[in-house]
């Protein structure tokens, strides 16, 4: 079974490729790249002329909500949302119910993903039992079962001793500890970023320092233990600076940033729309600029959505009472293609790298590259495709997007997982080929 993707601009940062080439896929793996490749007899063909062909995009920070919160999202709906957004693999956080702090839950997620998922799913296990922050989770068995990292994401492990032990214990498994850096005392009851906007709105603010203090602590713990620390959803200029300094010193720290923290500030909270409420909160202009600069220079390894679906009943009502989090899988690529690449603030190959090689290296995943023999996970972009975000059209079970009504140009038009379209229909058609 073969598929030839013809005539597209291939951008594969892992292999340093950027040019018009054809990509030949045979039996679900990359068989050959080159100019003027011929489609094998009876093989399928995609005409990607004018489009951009990339390794499959990877989102390492997603809440699939299953088991336990199926009214918000399921593995089936969440992976469809991922596939629609151009992602071919996601890593899902452990704050399900029950918490993914033991092998049984990891096995369940992987089994469900095999049957109902349409992109690859990599579970992230809890670092502490029940996300309570006081006893270690069974990381050994979970790593064996397939967990690619450990994190109490959604909560911060406030006890530094416990976190030190978690980092040390994870060392032999060669996977990172992912930190949700938020000092819960400093964050206090803050429901948005502390600053002029919080003062004017009369909403309790949490200072950027609540994040910075924890990033500082975790970097020191990584230095002490030698562990690979990954900072989730970094959002402040201070945290970015500390990560940059720590990397220069040789500390094993990586970091991700969300699309919303790259293109929105706390000004967006002004009409008390709870779809602008998330943790960490939308920050100030200076923080947004620092995050973009760090994404550009490689201090930040990847973009990750922190896709956090919530039902309307969790989000409607008073801002202070609403749940934290926004969906992001279906908007990440279009929003960044338009607001960053099209507006000339970030070049396309760098953005592609932050969605492919960056996350794949960080979690030691097999994807993120178009190397011969690698799985044929491929994302195709159409830089001229116009879009408008209509919440009711999202495939995610939840519609809590901060980008409702946004429009722009540039979007994914095809996502292949193991050489096959992740969704039954895509804007970019595949012609020919035996089913």
């Amino acid at each position: 079974m073969s598929l030839l993707i013809k005539g597209g601009r291939v951008i594969d940062p892992w292999n340093g490729v950027d040019g018009v080439q054809d990509v030949l896929v045979i039996d679900g793996t990359i068989a050959k790249l080159g100019v003027g490749l011929k489609a094998p007899e009876g093989g399928a063909v995609v005409d990607a002329t004018g489009n951009v062909v990339c390794p499959g995009f990877i989102d390492i920070h997603v809440h699939l909500r299953e088991p336990g919160f199926e009214y918000k999202e399921t593995i089936a709906t969440g992976t469809r949302a991922a596939a629609a957004g151009g992602f071919t693999a996601v890593a899902c956080m452990a704050n399900t119910f029950p918490v993914n702090d033991n092998r049984a839950v990891t096995d369940f997620i992987l089994a469900k993903a095999r049957v109902e998922g349409c992109v690859r799913v990599y579970p992230i296990g809890a670092a502490t039992r029940g996300l309570k922050g006081d006893e270690l989770a069974e990381m050994g068995e979970q790593a064996e079962a397939g967990c690619v990292a450990f994190s109490d994401d959604g909560k911060c492990v406030m006890n530094a001793e416990v976190y030190r032990r978690a980092m040390e214990y994870a060392l032999p498994f060669g996977v990172p500890i992912i930190s949700h850096a938020e000092d819960c005392h400093l964050a206090h009851r803050g429901v948005m970023n502390e600053g002029l906007v919080s003062t004017e709105l009369g909403l309790a603010g949490q200072p950027a320092t609540a994040e910075d203090v924890m990033v500082a602590r975790d970097i020191l713990l990584a230095e002490l233990t030698g562990a690979h620390l990954h900072i989730a959803h970094i959002s402040t200029a201070g945290a970015v600076r500390m990560v940059r300094d720590a990397r220069a010193r040789g500390v094993r720290v990586t970091a991700e940033v969300t699309p919303h923290h790259l293109v929105m500030t706390d000004e967006a909270v002004r009409d008390y729309d709870s779809n602008t409420k998330m943790a960490p909160p939308l920050r100030g202009k200076r923080d947004v600029e620092a995050c973009l600069e760090a994404l550009t220079d490689g201090t930040l390894d990847c973009v990750a959505t922190d896709h956090a679906p919530h039902a309307l009943s969790d989000k409607e009502g008073e801002f202070a009472e609403a749940a934290n989090g926004v969906v992001g899988l279906e908007t990440a690529v279009p929003v960044l293609l338009d607001r960053l690449v099209r507006q000339g603030r970030l070049d396309l190959p760098t953005l592609v790298a932050r969605f492919t090689a960056g996350p794949a290296r960080l979690l030691n995943l097999p994807g993120g590259r178009l190397s011969v023999g690698a799985p044929a996970d491929i994302t195709v972009l159409d830089l001229e495709r116009a879009w408008t975000v209509e919440p009711r059209h999202l495939l995610s079970r939840s519609k809590n997007t901060p980008f409702a009504g946004w429009s722009g140009t540039g979007a994914p038009v095809l996502a292949l997982v193991g050489g096959k379209p992740a969704l039954p229909s895509y804007p970019l058609a595949i012609s020919g080929g035996a089913a």
């Binding site: 002029l196 919080s198 003062t199 709105l201 009369g202 309790a204 009409d271 409607e316 008073e318």
Partner: protein, 308 residues
């Protein structure tokens, strides 16, 4: 008359001309309080719902009297605790009330932004009677009316607001309204009770009471909530009262024609000593009287001036 708004949600929204309209209208309403029969037919057949999710004596009573003197049907809906505790969302409650066709909903809620959310979802007029630490526009309007009455004008005056600015919706509304009317505003209090980026609101910030009140034409003392102490913002009420409370000897540093104001209810002996609260500089009860006039003006502008 230039009033065109559906709702009154914040002082930050209002322009000087709109504020002047409310104050002028309120001034003309004051005469009604002096009549033997305190009732005019202006809002006959109109329904005003007071939707109060937080306890309030003077604001609710003030709106109720204002509505009744204008002949509106006034219904009080008090919900104890938060909407979540009641098991019915604020929006559901409000939509149920709207289904009964009120003309104005006056809402007080502990959540900042709750009136804005109602205004977006309801066809009737919404008046913010205090939302969280956000705004309390009718309080600012009655403060401005009181100052204008006593001083004859607003522009060029110096007002100092003292106390828990961080958690005060009154302070925010006063700051916006006063700035718009050309008043120079100073806020003073311990740094823990001054909100982030406060100077960016266009006010001076002082951490010394004597210095902050020395040149003030008006001193607005804010109520200190007792829970600020347990939450660690101040060490004790005793110390707060000594440093930030207004006592007769601190008043010696002030102008001889200074006005002392307070949005109420006063913590006597904490932010204001009884001698000052009841003393010659105090216009606290004038504020309450003017509160009714301002709320009559607001109800009239929102529900009555469009014609029946």
């Amino acid at each position: 008359m230039t009033w065109k708004r559906k709702d009154l949600l914040s002082m930050q929204d209002l322009e000087a001309g709109e504020i002047r309209d409310v104050l002028d209208t309120a001034e003309s309403m004051k005469e009604i309080a002096t009549r033997e029969i305190k009732k005019v037919p202006t809002l006959r057949g109109k329904t005003v719902v007071n939707l109060f999710y937080e306890s309030s004596t003077r604001t609710r009573t003030s709106f109720e009297i204002a509505g009744k003197w204008l002949s509106a049907d006034v219904i009080n809906f008090s919900a104890s605790g938060s909407s979540a505790e009641k098991g019915e969302s604020l929006l559901d409650t409000a939509k149920n009330i709207e289904a009964m066709s009120p003309d104005v909903v006056v809402v007080r809620h502990k959540a900042s932004g709750a009136p804005a959310m109602l205004a977006r979802n309801l066809r009737c007029a919404v008046v913010n009677a205090g939302d969280g630490a956000h705004e309390h526009p009718t309080q600012a309007l009655l403060d401005l009316l009181t100052i204008r009455e006593k001083k004859g004008h607003l522009e060029g005056l110096n007002v100092t607001i003292v106390g828990d600015v961080a958690h005060s919706r009154v302070a925010r509304s006063d700051i916006h309204g006063m700035k718009t009317m050309g008043i120079t505003v100073t806020v003073a209090g311990p740094p823990t009770l001054i909100p982030a980026a406060c100077q960016e609101l266009g006010v001076k910030v002082s951490h010394r009471l004597e210095e902050a009140i020395a040149h003030a034409d008006v001193i607005m003392m804010l109520r200190l909530q007792h829970e600020r102490m347990t939450a660690g913002f101040i060490p004790s009420l005793r110390e707060y009262s000594r440093v930030w409370g207004l006592s007769p000897d601190k008043l010696k540093h002030c102008r001889s024609d200074v006005l002392i104001m307070h949005p109420g209810p006063v913590n006597r002996g904490v932010e204001l000593s009884p001698e000052v609260a009841d003393g010659p500089y105090s216009v606290i009860l004038d504020q309450v009287t003017n509160g009714v006039a301002v709320r009559m003006a607001v109800l009239y502008l929102l529900a009555g001036s469009k014609g029946a």
